[in-house]
């Protein structure tokens, strides 16, 4: 079993401004542990975490891949989160390329079809639409109607970003209508599966995995 990344450098006051790893984060880590063999065989050359927050997940994935041959990008809209990701990477001896941006803005078309691995723990909580679009800690959870507003903004880009062997992982809850998301992605040519699911309090969490459908 791989240890959870060391986050001891992040303090209570940091978590007033960035999302503190919680059940959803830990389920994501467990899913990556299950997928470790697949990911090692995939040998991604360029990866991307969207909304890296504390940097916990990227540090964990980096450990799975080994400090190897993968260029690891992280984005976050929250300046404090980008700095936390940077500190976490350093603290756990991994290198990441951190960009302060909205989802994937600034990466296309230059990096079209270049990502072998993308992962996203989106703001999936159902909130009023007005709460979507901040660049502080609310950006980590406020998902608008059905918790889908940010997710739906990203989905059309996945087909542009992923390479032919690329894989995309995303955290969702039941209220986000996972089947509907899988249908949307099927229209874009992706097969999907549920790699992990867990009941955490009132939230039913899923980790979805998408790969390009083989003809």
């Amino acid at each position: 079993m791989l240890p959870t990344p060391d986050l001891s450098h992040l303090k209570r006051q940091d978590y007033e401004h960035i999302y503190e790893p919680a059940e959803d984060t830990f389920l994501f880590l467990d899913a990556f542990e299950d997928e470790a063999l697949f990911l090692k065989e995939l040998q991604p050359k360029i990866s991307l975490e969207i909304g890296s927050g504390s940097g916990c997940v990227t540090a964990f994935v980096a450990k799975i891949l080994g400090e190897s041959n993968c260029l690891k990008f992280c984005t976050d809209i929250n300046p404090r989160a980008t700095r936390a990701t940077k500190r976490t990477a350093k603290h756990n001896q991994v290198s990441v390329e951190i960009i302060e941006t909205h989802l994937i803005s600034g990466l296309l078309p230059r990096l079209q079809g270049q990502f072998d691995l993308i992962y996203f723990n989106p703001p999936y909580v159902l909130t009023p639409s007005e709460e979507v679009g901040s660049n502080s800690v609310e950006a980590a959870w406020a998902g608008g109607i059905d918790g889908r507003e940010v997710i739906d903004e990203l989905l059309p880009y996945i087909k542009c970003l992923l390479s032919s062997i690329g894989v995309f992982y995303m955290v969702v809850i039941n209220e986000n209508k996972p089947d509907e998301i899988r249908n949307i992605m099927r229209q874009d040519g992706f097969d999907s599966s549920i790699v992990k699911t867990r009941l955490a309090g009132r939230e039913k969490l899923f980790i979805l995995k998408f790969v390009r459908a083989t003809l």
Binding site: K86, E97, E100, T101, H102, G106, L107, R110
Partner: protein, 123 residues
């Protein structure tokens, strides 16, 4: 921000679709930070880099170690790989600006992190 990252960013202001790469550095503070050499990683990156953009960017920063064109045997040219390693993985931009050659939009770099966010009306 390492120079490899700069090589992969471009302007995304609405309507700015041509001549928007590479972004031009201004008032940058550079720092060298040693990193472990990994030949396989560098080989993987050879096809991912926009080499001409890298060379022209480096020249403007006063880094003139890279050959003008990538050697044909780049993947197994130790001397070249070492220079490439030093330039794209060990050269960090601590602070400064990146300016779009087309629309002149300014992207700031602070604490070694590029900020690619746009104002509402630019999206």
């Amino acid at each position: 921000m390492r120079l490899i990252t700069h090589n992969m960013l471009q302007c995304h202001v609405k309507g700015c679709n041509a001549n928007n790469f590479p972004l031009e550095f201004q008032e940058v503070e550079l720092e060298q930070e040693e990193a472990e050499m990994n030949e396989d990683f560098l080989r993987n990156m050879l096809t991912k880099l926009e080499y001409d953009a890298l060379v022209s960017t480096c020249l403007k920063l006063g880094i003139n170690d890279l050959p003008a064109t990538m050697p044909a045997d780049a993947a197994y040219n130790d001397e070249f790989l070492q220079i490439l390693h030093r330039v794209i993985l060990e050269t960090h931009v601590k602070s400064g600006k990146m300016i779009c050659p087309n629309c002149k939009h300014i992207y700031n770099i602070r604490d070694g992190i590029p900020n690619m966010l746009l104002a509402e009306h630019e999206v």
